[in-house]
Symmetry: C2
Subunit: 360 residues, 2 copies
């Protein structure tokens, strides 16, 4: 089963295509790669590997805290955002959780592992998967322990501005619910902490985010959560496993958030490139492209084509795309592609055109 994008190793094993030859559009990683300062630091990283990481992750917390303008005690670094999502639900043990979907599948896995029950609030395709806030507020009255929102949302790319998020948080407070906001892709929208739910500073908000996408370090595993709920925080600290983050990821976290030039250039590049990419893709007959605010696009293939066949043909040209049919409410017509470098995006556009014109 396809659970996640970016599995270039499985493609190598099953299809014999070397990982360094694949053009991976299935994982959503910053096309500019790592920040130069991080590359330099990593090149000289043997020392960091030879020692245990700082078990308190003092500098890492300070680094994040300074960017978000909050105290380090509210910050919880993790071995990827995933570790924090699993830990959050493990300590919260919610009975019933509402997830806005289609979205990232790990929320459900984490909730079920913690013994919780999941319901979905469906984003409508005919509204370009934008959230209907009024309808969501009505649904909240049904009684949930937690509301889960991915913002910007994976795989739709839709983004909810802070003011609207604030409305939802307020409504959730009214019902005594927690709100988990996953901001793993928000850095592609704006510089931190702009638009971040961290600014809502509320006891019922848990913000989690991965640093591996924007900063192009998926192999290192790094994420963090921000929580102002003292009860939750005590449990998060109590259940943390020692040295949960490796030393290179911790070192990276101390560097990357301060690379202002790299951050601005990445936002600018991805933004401009997404606009061009979408324009090109929209010209292809047989594809629907949904609006996106980030570094990936959700697309729908017309019924007269077969996504598996198309994926196969693209793979023969070394392009890996993400079949999105395992996302709740999506089916085998949907796929997701990353916004990569200009040249690569042009090549994929070309390959899609060829396939859809020839096979028509």
């Amino acid at each position: 089963m396809i659970r996640h994008g970016g599995n270039i190793y499985e493609t190598q094993r099953n299809r014999g295509i070397p990982t360094d030859e694949l053009i991976d559009f299935s994982a959503n990683i910053n096309p500019l790669g790592m920040a130069p300062a991080l590359k330099d630091a990593l090149a000289d990283s043997f020392e960091a590997i030879l020692h245990y990481p700082d078990i308190e992750y003092f500098n890492l917390k300070q680094s994040i805290a300074s960017v978000y303008g909050i105290a380090p005690e509210f910050i919880f670094p993790g071995n990827g955002a995933g570790e924090l999502i699993f830990r959050y639900f493990r300590v919260l043990r919610p009975k019933k959780v509402l997830i806005v979907a289609p979205t990232f599948s790990e929320y459900e896995q984490a909730i079920r592992l913690a013994g919780g029950e999941v319901e979905y609030f469906q984003l409508q395709e005919d509204a370009d998967f934008n959230l209907d806030i009024a309808a969501l507020k009505l649904r909240l009255a049904d009684g949930f322990d937690v509301l889960v929102l991915c913002n910007p949302n994976n795989p739709t790319g839709s983004f909810l501005p802070l003011s609207q998020l604030g409305e939802i948080v307020e409504s959730s407070q009214h019902y005594g619910m927690q709100v988990m906001v996953d901001e793993s892709f928000i850095d592609f929208v704006c510089e931190a902490p702009q638009q971040s739910a961290v600014q809502l500073l509320s006891e019922n908000v848990f913000v989690v985010k991965s640093l591996t996408k924007f900063y192009a370090i998926p192999g290192l595993r790094l994420g963090f959560a921000v929580s102002f709920n003292t009860d939750v925080n005590e449990l998060l600290n109590y259940t943390r496993e020692p040295w949960n983050i490796n030393a290179l990821a911790a070192m990276a976290g101390e560097i990357i958030l301060h690379q202002t030039d790299y951050i601005r250039e990445s936002i600018r590049y991805v933004d401009a490139e997404r606009v061009r990419f979408v324009e090109d893709l929209k010209k292809i007959d047989g594809l629907t492209v949904y609006p996106s605010s980030v570094n990936f696009l959700l697309l729908r293939l017309d019924e007269r084509f077969d996504l598996c066949d198309m994926s196969e043909k693209l793979l023969q040209k070394k392009f890996l795309i993400r079949n999105a049919s395992n996302f709740e409410f999506l089916d085998s017509r949907y796929f997701r592609i990353a916004v990569r470098k200009r040249e690569e995006n042009i090549l994929l556009t070309q390959a899609l055109k060829e396939y859809l014109v020839i096979d028509k």
Copy 2:
């Protein structure tokens, strides 16, 4: 509170001694450092960081499986041994666990987090902390769900040969108990899989081990477990968080276990150096040195001296040692030191001599 050794970052923060100036005898890391082949691979590791790790860790499991001569399905790589210890108890949810102690404190933390109760079986100081197998077998009759053994044991350095371990496992089987054996330091005793509990191939044995000590990669976080219990294994797979191991650690794991020359030279070096180090230390009046099979030594300071004061004086000379008073059954007279390079061990011996002679 001192929970673990190797916290050079805290020492830097609190005492202003730069981490690269400290001579860290408090963490138990291979004094020969990393395998040369691993250094080469890491120097060219940017590519590995830019991709998600293989979510199945296929090559890593294969690599471990081939060394231990078992199928990959029985192998569970982890973000350090710690992650596996916590996950094991989380899926097992034991009511009552017997831990042979003094030993590593994380077992108790993991068991309590999983809602279990802990009892201790005390290793006797007057038997040099060697395990009294007959007495342990009697104790097993009291009814426990799991027995936890660290072998070789941290912090005592004592080692139980496979034949004796087999006796204990048999007795545990009789009582329907699980046995968890932590072999994080066994590679210093012999080449894998010699002497490993993996060879007992039993449904009631769970073997866990860290690869960070022998292979000198504590900053990378890497460990694995071997389990032949199908029920436990299903739950271990079900509860694994995606990408639990970073890409560099996975890459390291594929390389290091096959560095036979490095492995033999490390065993030989540490073995010879420990013998010399112990001989030198035994000549110092005021110290008791306990026999050890591995790369660290447990020592006891005579009552007429003060361990905190001694640690402080050693730190002024940049030596960091591990106060062992937080280990169950040990008190403020006990400390642990790693076997480091010959030159460094001589320097520490000298510093200890100076302190104990001057302060007498």
